[in-house]
Symmetry: C2
DNA sequence: CGGCATCCTTCTGGATACTG
DNA sequence: CAGTATCCAGAAGGATGCCG
């Protein structure tokens, strides 16, 4: 039933950083490792690397090595990962509302 | 911007159990402590108690002590918490899709 | 029944340094 | 630049027992 479905979704999305990383890729499209590192406030390269690898395995993002000097690596949402855009946008809308409520204005 | 909003939302929703608990209250409405304990697969009473308390502080759920014998306690989403229904339903839809993809079937 | 306290293990994730 | 490796502190969270 639906409760289990939510649980299944969270299996893939849980963790301190996952959804933030997805949000970056959702709103900014193609993005290099160091860009994401800068976009996601507070994440360490170790965590970013780990989370991206996990999400690649789960087929939410693709990893592309670009033949630049020095090498850069680009990440983007897969078509499948893009199916999460609705979720992310809802979350973003709610988060903005919540921020106002908590911080006051 | 939106990425920060997503981060803010996750501040409140993060953790292994939060969203599952919210999903229960979202789909089942009023629910007693022991019911939720049964609905959320694998959670311990310690965790449930802690998470519910946190969410009460964050004004996502209300706690009502019922004058039964023995005492029972009922939880339900606040109006504010209900604003998360969209998110939860999207998550549920995606989770169901994801489950099919992973488990095959 | 709901929930707190204690104990104890596992997991998370930060800091730092190193490599191709 | 994009990682990987190591070390380690602290948080998460399970098991169990107790209490009103």
């Amino acid at each position: 039933m639906q409760i289990m479905a939510v649980h299944d979704a969270m299996d893939v999305l849980n963790g301190k950083w996952r959804i933030s990383i997805l949000a970056v890729l959702c709103y900014r499209n193609k993005r290099r490792f160091s860009d994401i590192l800068a976009d996601v406030d507070g994440i360490s390269n170790k965590m970013l690397s780990k989370e991206l690898k996990d999400m690649e395995v789960n087929q939410l993002v693709t990893r592309t090595v670009l033949d630049t000097q020095p090498i850069t690596v680009q990440y983007e949402l897969t078509e499948y990962g893009q199916e999460l855009q609705t979720v992310i946008k809802n979350l973003s809308a709610w988060g903005a509302k919540h921020r106002k409520k908590i911080i006051g204005k």
